[in-house]
Amino acid sequence: MPAVSKGDGMRGLAVFISDIRNCKSKEAEIKRINKELANIRSKFKGDKALDGYSKKKYVCKLLFIFLLGHDIDFGHMEAVNLLSSNKYTEKQIGYLFISVLVNSNSELIRLISNAIKNDLASRNPIFINLALHCIANVGSREMAEALAAEVPRLLIAADTMDSVKQSAALCLLRLYRTSPDVIPVGDWTSRVIHLLNDQHMGVVTAATSLITALAQKNPDEYKGSVSLAVSRLSRIVTSSYTDLQDYTYYFVPAPWLSVKLLRLLQCYPPPEDPAVRGRLSECLENILNKAQEPPKSKKVQHSNAKNAVLFEAINLIIHHDSEPNLLVRACNQLGQFLQHRETNLRYLALESMCLLASSEFSHEAVKKHQETVINALKTERDVSVRQRAVDLLYAMCDRSNAQEIVSEMLNYLETADYSIREEMVLKVAILAEKYAVDYTWYVDTILNLIRLAGDYVSEEVWYRVIQIVINREDVQGYAAKTVFEALQAPACHENMVKVGGYILGEFGNLIAGDPRSSPLVQFNLLHSKFHLCSVATRALLLSTYIKFINLFPEVKVTIQDVLRSDNQLRNADAELQQRAVEYLRLSTVASTDVLATVLEEMPPFPERESSILTKLKRKKGSVSVDVDDGRRTGSVELNGAATQDSLANKASAVSTPSPSASADLLGLGAPGIGILGHSEGPVGNVGTGGASLLVDVFSDMAAAAASSSPQIVGTPPEDNFMKFVCKNNGVLFENNLLQIGVKSEFRQNLGRVCLFYGNKTSVQFQAFTPSVSFSQELQSQLSVQTKPVEPTIDGGAQVQQLVNVECLLDFVESPMLNLQFRYGGAVQNLVMRLPVMLNKFFQVSEMSGQDFFARWKQLSSPQQEAQNIFKATQSMDEEVNKAKLLGFGMALLEGVDPNPENFVGAGIVQSKLVQVGCLLRLEPNAQAQMYRLTLRTSKEVVSKHLS
């Protein structure tokens, strides 16, 4: 039986409420409400003036309807009228209606501000409080502007009643949160601070809330509150529970005020004044001591209140982070709570320990509880407690226990609640990265994450693993191998396919040597997942495929077939279709070197904050994450530095094998690069060496023009090697001491090169020793015999040296000519390339247009073709080009190409062991001053080289 004997009975309201309660259905309820609304509306609109009681009753009904969740669009005026009633209950209902409904209606505030002002000025404290409550409940900016002026005065006026002071303090606090300018400055500040000394505990409690908020924003102004708060706290802590009468709560003296004071003190560093500081330490020790005392009551309220103060004291100890003794005591206390039967205490102990773990003084003490925490993770029945355990493990993790904690977290992940999986995944990913000593462990951990909780692995996580693998060379091969193995699982998560696709696309070559993971196997494995994947993943895989075309020319045709299929080329998804079309085209049109440039290995990512960490912070706004990072900057930097190092290594590694035509025209200076298609050298760069040669042929055209005029003599010495691409005789080298001329002839696979060394000075060269050297590889491809020469060359004289060359196999490099001689007292050293190139062994091959194109088509596999597009360096003269091509050694086939401007050539490379057919097509574009040169040969290496 509800007791309504107190207060006003509103019979009509009670009847209405019980009607609503008796409604069997939502429809019935709505019907009843609509009926009531119609009734109230007619009453409000009626001619008869309503008396206060009826108005109050109807406004109260409207309020009830509103609180049930229905919209109310009238009655506001009647409520406003009630405010000016001199009957308390009517006023009270008016205020209640307004404070519940006014939120969204600022029009109303203008109407009510007068009434509120009147009540604030009333002599009756109950009326003043009603007005203050209303201001605090609405708390809008408009309210602050209209009414704030009076409130600060009420708070400190000597004649204000305690209850009004309390309301005024909290009302001001509420207004301060929306409009900070309501707070006066100057003298007022110290008077507010002195409220901490007030006789009335309720006033102190309310004032402490206000002062804490103010001190957070203006710590200096409210600094005086520290000593007052400490002495107030000290008085409470040392008092017996009987001293404080009604402010003692279940045998705990003023727990709310204690906690508020402790929170106020957390706005400041430890007190500087030793006396205050000592007193505070005493308080804190006292609170810790009390935790060990037997409880004065079995009621949960007693232990809750006592522990609330204890936890807040521990928060302050952690905030000060300056007293190792207190920190360790706090940690031990929390350790006891970790095994408490009260779930709430276990929850809070885990939470507070999280903060302790970030203090250098207590980090080790927290680590002692690692086992208990791991156990909590396994046995707690409440997910929110397990969540705290995860947080704590994350916070207590360091290099010494990372492997164990990460593995426990991974174990737990399998059975973890769905609600916390994503966050756990983030945390595991961060820990694995942060404390990885061995990056293979990192890669394993992340792949495990994807395997165990793939759905919860957010983009950031798999982006990050890719970033790290790309930036850390030492782990790339391992990563490729591991993802390859992971992908072999019959069912694997799409995120695994993404990571696998990306990593194999970049580093698949590192495992391609193993026949079990040959390019085709890799491709088939990835493609077997393709159809099960989302559009985004399929798009990624298409990029992997085009990367494969570059990495592994042998699977080009297979992949092109896939790209060409209707599933791709006519895919309904625009992105997939576009990728398929563009990649297919790219793979057909672009020469290997263009492909290689476009699809080059990803450069290292700039080092930046882990995107995962950002995400976790965003997700949690987590204090623990920040604190944690602050403390461990040392180790983070350690790892960061390691990454930086490897980045630097990586950067230099990358810069070496990326030959630019200007730096090293043939790439001969960097062995292993020019040897295209051979095992050494990053596959990503295949073809670049060739590209430069191709450019050479035509840049040579410019040089050749210049060479017809007398050589300009001077330093630096000029190496004319490139001119010999298309001709056999000329000056190979000249400086102010020496000129080297060349006459050479080639027939079939044999060649004879005659070198003329001319001494341009009047002084004798002594100890003149020319020698020809070549790389190991070249030894099997070319045999060279040199005739010895006289060790001296007189001034102005010329000596001859004959070099016989036999081409055994197709080759790429040219042999090197090393010269050493003494001129004056100084030893001169010269190194240059001997003008022996593969095209010297071309045998002209005449064929009809039909034949040409038949063969051209035969040689259509990607690895047989090399193409380069380049800009003309001189006028595009047809005759000059013809001469060049003839000089190149091929037969020029006239009238073969449908476009008369194009040049077509054919030749066979004659070597002792093999003959390699070679077709050439040069398409000048006069308008753009560009040439496109395409070469197709029956041997992959040759076409790459010759291009």
């Binding site: 039986m1 509800p2 007791a3 309504v4 004997s5 107190k6 009975g9 019979r11 009670a14 009847v15 409420i17 019980s18 309660r21 309020l63 009830f64 609180l67 969740g69 009957k87 308390y88 209950t89 009270q92 939120n103 969204s104 109950i126 409080n129 409550h133 605090a136 409940n137 708390g139 209850s163 309390q166 909290l170 009302c171 509420r174 505990m201 309720g202 409690t205 309310a206 809330s209 009604d246 709560y249 003023a254 727990p255 709310w256 005020l257 906690v259 508020k260 309220q301 809750n304 209140a305 522990n307 609330a308 807040e312 779930t343 709430n344 809070l348 409440d382 929110s384 407690v385 204090v623």
Partner: protein, 159 residues
Amino acid sequence: MMQFMLLFSRQGKLRLQKWYFAIYEREKKKIVRELVAIILARKPKMSSFLEWRDLKIVYKRYASLYFCCAVATQDNELLTLEIVHRYVELLDKYFGSVCELDIIFNFEKAYFILDEFLLGGELQETSKKDVLKAIEQADQLQEDNETATRNVLEEMGLT
């Protein structure tokens, strides 16, 4: 600072809602639905605290009613539980062995008592005596005004 307080029944019916920050009705309803579902799904032995959005939810069940508060993360959870308890004590003292029906039929009283106890999301007065004194004074004021105060519900035979 307390952000809001909700009282709802085991059936998920909202009995009282107090918001200490400005918020649209639509959003209120969404929050209520969400939290009622979360809390009703929890088992008795579970902790009374849970993280929700960037707030902390502290809840406790008294008979058929759930009291649920949202506080800032740095607020003291145990003491929030005791705020709830003190409010229940106040209601209990005022109504005399309070039950859900008291709060339904006298919702305005429940709001008035809450306003005396908590203002703007902060504790105004923790002394039970003082809060009740304030309420009684107000009741006194009105009883002076009212001529006929009857126990309406008794008359209607409602329990």
